[in-house]
Symmetry: C2
Subunit: 202 residues, 2 copies
């Protein structure tokens, strides 16, 4: 079965997004990451900053998020939390993008949302903690929080969100076709292997 | 860090052993699977058939297995079950083999036993259930049990054994450097990628 759509799930700081962008460039197909956020923003009415922050994070449990939903925002079903509403929109946008044609989609539980399409190659990129800690400081700079704490917090929020909405374990090998440790394999070799796997499927 | 030792963990029927043998041939290094069983047999005094059956399976919980240990078999510590004794020998043999030089080791929780050696490439091979069911019937023939039941039983026993002795989740991507779905990637491409990852590490 020809693989046309590549979903890339990743641990924070592992280089999954960079790898995804390079794969899309080599295959000459669209790359959805920030673009996906903008599309979801357009369809949901949420602020892009809110989506970037919450689209892969733990579902909102605060009273505020439920109150917000019940205020009668257009398109929000009564009693649906803002996090659940965001998830519904996210599913719709990702399913529509996949219908449009070949692409690379990074994050946002796309592996689960597109699990029933046989033309998808599902990839998971991870790396050991110290490699990722060095990488986020190099790329995003220092912050008030120690790099290891930033990794732990971000990964935990992604994992909780994934497990809440999919009922699957995050980072389980059998949910993906290819899982690579980018620190061991190297980013370039990750890109080349994903591209050749897609090309071999044709 | 140069990767000299390749451990291959695999779902039953996924082709992990075949891939491991081909990797060893291409790299011109020893392949330990049946040989490992013979070595453990030699050191433990157990029958090779018993080791092949129990070396990756759920730890023996029967009264018999404890009674057997307390009968004073040479080298068996008082109160240690035969399964625990087998695990101890298995750890020692695998650690010794890794000391001897480059090799490919299939199964037997070698990824965990060698987790502290940085010169190891840890690989996990899996595939969807129907691919594996077809493959085991093609390779090993029909048996009284339906193929899907055979897969489920074997995988469950491997998983229980792994989780009992390692305290880790079986098949979690971050415990391996490379996890591949052999049905999607193809056995030959799996072999080539593992070989090139080892060669790139030099």
């Amino acid at each position: 079965m020809e693989k046309k759509i590549i979903t890339i799930s990743r641990q924070f700081g592992s280089g999954g997004r960079t790898i995804g962008r390079a794969v899309a460039e080599k295959l000459g197909i669209p790359f959805y990451d920030k673009e996906l956020v903008d599309q979801i923003a357009l369809e949901s009415g949420f602020d892009p900053g809110y989506i970037a922050e919450h689209g892969e994070h733990a579902p909102g449990k605060s009273l505020f998020s439920y109150a917000f939903a019940s205020m009668g925002m257009p398109g929000v079903m009564q009693g649906m939390s803002s996090a659940d509403f965001l998830w519904t929109i996210q599913c719709n946008v990702i399913l529509q993008l996949a219908e449009k044609g070949p692409c690379v989609i990074v994050g946002r539980n796309a592996d689960y949302i597109l699990k029933d399409r046989e033309d998808c190659l599902h990839v998971f990129i991870h790396a050991d903690t110290h490699y990722r800690a060095d990488r986020i400081v190099r790329l995003y700079g220092e912050s008030e929080k120690a790099p290891l704490a930033r990794l732990e917090e971000k990964d935990k929020r992604r994992r909780v969100n994934y497990e809440h909405y999919t009922g699957r374990d995050w980072g389980k090998a059998e949910n993906y076709d290819v899982c690579l440790n980018s620190a061991v394999v190297g980013e370039e070799a990750c890109v080349d292997f994903i591209v050749s796997t897609v090309n071999n499927s044709k």
